[in-house]
């Protein structure tokens, strides 16, 4: 492996790992804020218990999302310095704005929420979590704007004097058509994942004999989780469908690669492949099982539309990009992603996503009108839903990033041209090994903590101190409501 491969593996490992936690942070901040607001509105102790229970799981998860996010911001410069030089004028701004608008908001108000139970009036305390959620949305917005620009560069001009892409229209970058559909897709899948998290854990605790007296409360968690997961799941499907059509438009190769469609179907009615076996190098098809016309519909919204195949697109790309003598940031080449990865990740993303939404619908059915599911498989089966949702998210990113290859910025710079020229093989190896080992250890610790607290169930209800009713001196001496 050369430094390019090492740097790519590091980026892949750290990014997929980071994104295990991100959707849970985005969605759980919303759902915990909703629970706390329900408590304020209804005064039902169950809502407060659920708030604190899932709030705690949120914090365990948030910590890892945060620390792995720091690596993300640093490694563009560390491993991809030529990429950073080339895109910095455009790509840096959303990152800086994300830190200023989102990270400060999230970290400050999360700190207030954690330690503020006995310091802040109740409504203000709940608002803190809403603000954290707003921060996560702002964060998602700006980082996805940056990613969407890599998928479909807009609002820029290539400056041959400076040898870089330069921003000409910030608004165009913010309203990139890829961004406008990617943001709702990612946020909806974050909501689906987090709702599945609440659903799965509530169902598992619901099914345990030990927590029989808390069944009513866990049922609330089940119903809330399942409803949100189902609605969010539908939103994921709808936005994903629109995304597919835009992708066909701006990155036709990615759509063809998703389908392992080698030859253009010029008479229309391109088939959707359920199962394709290709040659190991992913360059041609050996056998496949297909449903007619479905791909045409997915890609173009019309069962009769023609969908371009990999081989034709490769030729087109080679014509367009392969013979440009002035091209500094790409070389003539194949311009085709690695098909087995795109093909299977696309299928796993969709299949697992539907499994979660379907599971949520099934749970809603099983618990309709006060019904209580008693089957032994109920708890263990439902708690697998968040894991499936997390995997679906990972496959989504693997698909969208691997499907853009060999490009780092589509049509402008290949990944190979973005790598840091000054970083030695040894340095790159050290960092990928250190980070991978560290992340593995942290994963074990994190899962251990989650399991421990899930097994323990929600703490019993205790009325939190209300600082608006603050008394005299003895109040000042009471222990903190929360302490590390």
């Amino acid at each position: 492996m050369d430094i390019l491969d090492v740097a790519r593996w590091q980026f892949g490992i750290t990014t997929v790992y980071h994104f295990l936690f991100v959707p849970l942070t985005i969605g759980l901040t919303l759902l915990v804020a909703v629970m706390e607001s329900f408590w304020l509105r209804t005064a039902k102790p169950e809502w407060l218990r659920l708030t604190k229970f899932f709030g705690k799981l949120l914090l365990i998860n948030f910590a890892l999302g945060l620390v792995t996010g720091i690596v993300q911001e640093f490694q563009f410069g560390m491993n991809w310095s030529d990429y950073s030089r080339f895109v910095g004028d455009i790509f840096g701004a959303p990152l800086a704005v994300e830190a200023l608008l989102a990270f400060f908001l999230e970290s400050t108000f999360l700190g207030l929420w954690i330690f503020g139970w006995d310091r802040l009036p109740r409504k203000l305390h709940a608002s803190c979590m809403w603000l954290v959620h707003l921060g996560t949305l702002a964060s998602a917005w700006f980082i996805l704007a940056a990613n969407s620009w890599m998928q479909h560069p807009v609002g820029y001009e290539y400056n041959p004097d400076t040898g870089r892409a330069e921003l000409t229209d910030f608004w165009a970058v913010m309203t990139n058509k890829v961004q406008l559909v990617t943001f709702p897709h990612v946020v909806a899948s974050a909501y689906m994942t987090s709702a599945a998290f609440i659903l799965g854990i509530s169902a598992w605790l619901y099914a345990r004999k030990r927590f029989e007296q808390d069944r009513e409360m866990y049922r609330m968690g089940i119903r809330m989780g399942a409803s949100v997961a189902l609605v969010a799941g539908l939103a994921v499907a709808i936005t994903g469908d629109i995304q597919g059509k835009i992708m066909t438009d701006v990155q036709p190769m990615k759509m063809a690669a998703a389908e392992a469609l080698y030859e253009t179907d010029s008479d229309g009615c391109a088939p959707f492949s359920l199962f394709t076996i290709g040659t190991p190098d992913g360059k041609s098809e050996k056998w496949s099982l297909t449903v007619p016309c479905v791909l045409s519909f997915l890609a173009e919204g019309d069962t009769d539309a023609s969908v371009e195949g990999i081989n034709d697109l490769r030729e087109q790309y080679q014509q367009e990009y392969g013979q440009d003598p002035g091209a500094a940031y790409y070389s003539p080449g194949d311009f085709t992603p690695y098909i087995p990865v795109t093909y299977w990740s696309f299928r796993f993303m969709i299949g697992l996503g539907f499994l979660v939404a379907g599971g949520a619908a099934l749970v809603l059915w099983l618990t309709r009108k006060g019904r209580a599911p008693t089957a032994r498989w109920f708890g263990p089966a439902v708690i697998s839903l968040p894991v499936i949702a997390v995997l679906a998210n990972s496959f989504g990113w693997i698909f969208t990033e691997m499907g853009r290859q060999p490009w780092a910025v589509f049509g402008l710079m290949t990944t190979a041209h973005g790598v840091s020229p000054g970083v030695s093989d040894l340095e790159a190896w050290i960092s990928v090994i250190v980070l991978t080992l560290l992340y593995a250890v942290l994963a074990v610790i994190e899962v251990g903590l989650l399991v421990k607290y899930v097994k323990k169930g929600a703490d019993p209800f205790t009325e939190p101190p209300d600082p608006t009713l603050r008394g005299g001196d003895e109040d000042q001496d009471r222990p903190m409501a929360f302490a590390y």
């Binding site: 640093f74 990270f103 302490a483």
Partner: protein, 339 residues
């Protein structure tokens, strides 16, 4: 003023925010085995920075993002060039942050001891390495005509760089002791204050040598003024702490760090990363900068949101302004952990 100068100044402000704020929580972390006598006191120390460390750390993320956006060449050269020190800082920050969140999640002493170690080392490494990095930025490093760093880890470990690391280390230790003296009550408060004076004298000695060296090497009139003010602030802070005025003591170290960092940036200007290979290859505020348009957009965003951020971050310090003493730390932490 040129927008590139505005952004150079803003990045200096972000680093000042980072070092003055996370500086004391690094200090608190490193002093954990020195000041605390038992687990209760350790928890008390950690809880003084509990609501703040995360917000403090965002300053460095914003500094990194702002450098990427405003001076992409600087970001690219610096981050790829200082590869291994930055990796160490990343690992340190990762284990340290997790330690704050995870330490209290299990009651076993071995679990806590391990996370305590993570806090101590995770605070020590960045406190030292940021100083090494900054000293090297100001002094200059080998950079070739393609703007790439051509040295290695050992290039950075020169006497001047190491002295810079010792200075930030001692300053942050002093700053942390001042913070503990300011934020706690009981016996530890007095121990922290006494320690802040001792550490402060060491920090002052190292800082004066380092700042003089910097001044002679790369200084100008502006940096001299800042360095003198920084030294005065530090001495004033130590005198105040000795006199039992913890608030003024903390303000003293706060101002000393801010002024010293400001002075380093003044000494650096208009370079952002001088090249020791050939001054023609130096990165400057102009040849490393983003386009005027990008800087304009960023200026608008920063002008609107920086005051808001400062406002609500200051507010959290107000909300948690109370001193913490041992009896504020809940005993049955495991039961309380869910709150």
């Amino acid at each position: 003023m040129e927008l590139t100068t505005v952004w150079f100044t803003l990045i200096a402000v972000l680093w000042i925010g980072y070092f003055t704020l996370e500086g004391f929580d690094f200090g608190v972390g490193m002093l954990l085995p020195v000041l605390a006598r038992d687990d209760r006191e350790r928890r008390m120390m950690i809880n003084t920075i509990g609501p703040h460390w995360d917000g403090n750390e965002v300053w460095v993320l914003t500094a990194g993002g702002a450098t990427f956006a405003a001076f992409p060449e600087w970001y690219a050269t610096l981050f790829s060039g200082f590869y291994l020190p930055l990796l160490l800082i990343l690992v340190a920050l990762i284990v340290r942050n997790l330690a704050f969140e995870y330490r209290h999640q299990r009651p076993e002493p071995s679990w806590k001891a391990r996370w305590d170690l993570a806090i101590i080392i995770g605070s020590f490494l960045p406190a030292l390495l940021w100083g090494v990095a900054f000293a090297n930025i100001v002094r200059g490093v080998p950079i070739d005509e393609t703007k790439d760093f051509t040295g290695n880890l050992f290039t950075l470990l020169n006497p001047f760089g190491l002295l810079g690391g010792v200075v930030t280390l001692l300053l942050f230790l002093t700053h942390g002791a001042m913070f503990i003296a300011l934020k706690t009550d009981g016996d530890i408060r007095h121990r922290a204050r006494a320690l802040s004076v001792q550490l402060g004298l060491g920090a002052a000695l190292a800082a004066v040598v380092f700042l003089l060296w910097t001044q002679i090497d790369t200084g100008n009139v502006g940096s001299a003024i800042f360095f003198v003010l920084a030294a005065l602030a530090l001495v004033g802070g130590i005198v105040m702490a000795r006199a039992g005025r913890e608030g003024w003591g903390f303000i003293g170290t706060f101002a000393a760090i801010a002024l010293a960092v400001a002075g380093l940036f003044v000494a650096l200007f208009p370079d952002v990363m001088p090249s020791t290979t050939d001054s023609a290859f130096s990165l400057t505020t102009t040849n490393a900068a983003a386009t005027h348009y990008t800087l304009k957009v960023m200026t608008v965003v920063a002008a609107i949101f920086t005051p808001i951020v400062l406002g609500y971050q200051a507010w959290t310090y107000w909300v948690f302004r109370k001193r913490i003493s041992v009896h504020h730390i809940p005993e049955a932490e495991l039961e309380n952990a869910g709150r």
